[in-house]
């Protein structure tokens, strides 16, 4: 693989978006930001707002559309869909949040360390990141489920490990550029410690890039975790989670009862699209600055 080009690729994301001039508000960015904030809030308070208990079944009213009692209808066991969607918000949103926080933290540490040390350390770490980068996260998560079992933490850990090199590679190329700037040498001459230069100066300057890429990665982590749940390798029933709800509603699809798959699917798409576009817009703004 021509690695130089590959590393550049993710940086192209957001290039299509024409960056706004400084000081001009970007309505799309604000809109997506609000939706993302709303979804994060939903993860926090969603489980408290449920009108019905999660596992209260009502076979006589199974697979119904929206009604006064069940605002979004019921699933194939007659459970209230609104309640399950609200409760499902917590794992569905928390999982990508944990994955992104952990992989970004690890990735930034590895990237800055390699860039700062340079030389052979840098070459070895970069080569390892290049190899890890090509490993598909979904596949690792599926095999991890075979070895470590299903649940919340196994796919989260597997995806964290496979997302780390993605973040690290982008941050690494930015950190290398940063280390070559004259101010770093000036700091060294002024007698600042490596730790201080890295944390106070380099880290601060590459933080916006890391945040933009982490936002983009949030969208992918959300989709990947949803896919693992959809495959039945994530949280197990009767727990509610959006990806597994899309799966549980599949049998109903064939008889035309689309509510469970559709409502959960729409929420996943809404969340993924909002985080994706927010990340692109943030990346475009930074591209403007440098």
């Amino acid at each position: 693989m021509s690695l130089e080009q590959l590393t550049r690729l993710p940086l192209l994301a957001g290039r299509l978006v024409r960056p706004r001039r400084r000081g001009h508000a970007d309505p799309v960015l604000i809109g997506c930001g609000l939706i993302c904030a709303g979804l994060l809030a939903l993860a926090l308070i969603g489980p408290v707002l449920t009108p019905y208990p999660l596992d209260q079944t009502d076979i006589l009213n199974a697979s119904q559309g929206p009604s006064a009692e069940h605002l979004l209808g019921t699933d194939s066991l007659g459970r209230d869909l609104l309640s399950r969607l609200l409760a499902g918000a917590r794992p569905s949103i928390t999982a990508p949040a944990v994955i992104v926080l952990a992989s970004t933290t690890l990735g930034v540490i590895v990237a800055v360390f390699a860039a700062w040390r340079g030389g052979r350390v840098d070459r070895v770490i970069s080569r390892m990141l290049d190899v890890m980068f090509t490993v598909p996260g979904l596949l690792v998560a599926v095999i991890a489920a075979a070895i470590l079992g299903t649940g919340f933490w196994v796919p989260v850990a597997a995806l964290t490990v496979t997302y780390m090199p993605y973040i690290a590679r982008i941050v690494h190329s930015a950190a290398i550029r940063e280390c070559r700037l004259p101010y770093v040498e000036a700091c060294q001459l002024a007698g600042l410690s490596s730790w201080r230069i890295c944390t106070r100066h380099i880290l601060r300057n590459i933080a916006p890039l890391a945040v933009a890429q982490a936002t983009l990665a949030f969208a992918w982590a959300l989709m990947d975790f949803g896919a693992i749940s959809f495959l039945g390798l994530g949280l197990q029933p009767p727990a509610a989670e959006w990806g597994s709800m899309v799966n549980e509603g599949r049998a109903d699809l064939l008889t035309g009862a689309i509510w469970e798959s559709m409502t959960a699917g729409v929420l996943i798409v809404l969340a993924a699209v909002s985080f994706n576009i927010l990340g692109e817009r943030l990346a475009a703004r930074i591209g403007d600055g440098s």
């Binding site: 192209l12 290039r15 979904l138 095999i143 075979a146 495959l231 509603g249 559709m262 699917g265 993924a272």
Partner: protein, 309 residues
């Protein structure tokens, strides 16, 4: 020619390393194959005999060596669940998955490159292309699958709801919806990257020079813009094709297609480790093969990469 040999060797080494990692990881998995085969009523002597016959008493590296030499002869052991040779399970399913991934790669690259070039060369359409691709890349395969099944298979009844079909044309018909579901987000990603690459090239000095020399716009586009944009587009297309291999796991399960991916998921759920081992390795091989072909074609197209390597 040496660079091709080098890339092939690197690909083979990757597959070998992955096979070792997967084997070691699975050997740590919980579950007892002896109990699974003999059932709960076996005596301790029977258990010991079976465990020796399966070679479970050997050190793990010895077992890996036996597994590897057998695998190179096409013998991946027996499925614990289906009670038949794993290789017999893999063969037909590999074909289905290859057709699905191939069809989907074709759709993704064709629509992605077309949309990307359109967005790249017509500045007025760029916000539209940017919006479409921004939404498109965030459409997960399993959600698109459910939507397509509901609309085109159940309501309109244009396509079958599940299965892979028999015979080439029947298979194509069965695999059309799954291929579209699988291609959707990749097509948007290819479009995004193509538009960015075309846009980048269009702003270069040599393009301005060509326009200044009075060359017709179509010639400038073909000779100066698209030709240079082709290399990053090829890279993205190849990477996308590779990611489709992983994505097929989800879409096959969504459409109930008997492919490699759905076999892997089923065997993971039923703890059928010989199948998990072989199926994941075959998926890794397909993945590495796509990456190696990409790598070689890229180097062949751009001699600068060859000199650097």
């Amino acid at each position: 020619m040496t660079f091709i040999a080098k890339k092939l060797a690197a690909g083979a080494a990757t597959v070998l390393a992955s096979s070792l990692i997967i084997f070691l990881a699975l050997s740590r998995a919980p579950g007892d194959p002896v109990a699974l085969i003999l059932g709960p009523h076996a005596t301790n002597a029977e258990r010991a005999a079976m465990s020796a016959r399966l070679g479970l008493t050997d050190p793990v590296l010895v077992r890996y060596w036996h597994w590897l030499t057998d695998a190179l002869h096409g013998d991946f052991g027996n499925s614990l669940l289906y009670r038949q040779p794993v290789s017999g399970l893999l063969g037909p399913r590999l074909m289905t998955t290859l057709i699905l991934v191939g069809l989907s790669a074709l759709i993704a690259v064709a629509t992605g490159v077309a949309l990307g070039i359109f967005g790249g060369v017509t500045p007025r359409a760029r916000p539209l292309v940017s919006a479409v691709t921004g939404v498109g890349t965030a459409l997960p395969g399993f959600v698109v699958s459910s939507a397509l099944i509901s609309i085109f298979a159940v309501n309109l009844a244009w396509f079958p709801t599940f299965g892979a079909g028999h015979g080439f044309f029947d298979q194509l018909w069965h695999l059309t919806l799954p291929a579209i579901a699988l291609a959707m987000s990749s097509a948007a990603y290819v479009a995004q990257m193509t538009a960015a690459a075309v846009n980048d090239e269009a702003g270069r000095e040599h393009v301005a020079t060509a326009t200044g020399r009075g060359l017709p716009r179509s010639v400038v586009l073909r000779r100066h813009v698209l030709r240079n944009a082709a290399i990053p587009v090829l890279t993205v297309s190849g990477l996308t094709a590779a990611s489709l291999v992983a994505g097929s796991v989800v879409v096959e399960s969504a459409f109930g297609i008997d492919g490699l991916g759905s076999l892997l998921v089923k065997s993971v759920a039923s703890k059928d480790y010989p199948v998990v081992n072989a199926a994941s390795l075959v998926i890794v091989i397909v993945f590495v093969a796509v990456m190696t072909v990409l790598d070689i074609s890229q180097t062949a197209l751009d001699p600068r990469l060859r000199e650097r390597a």
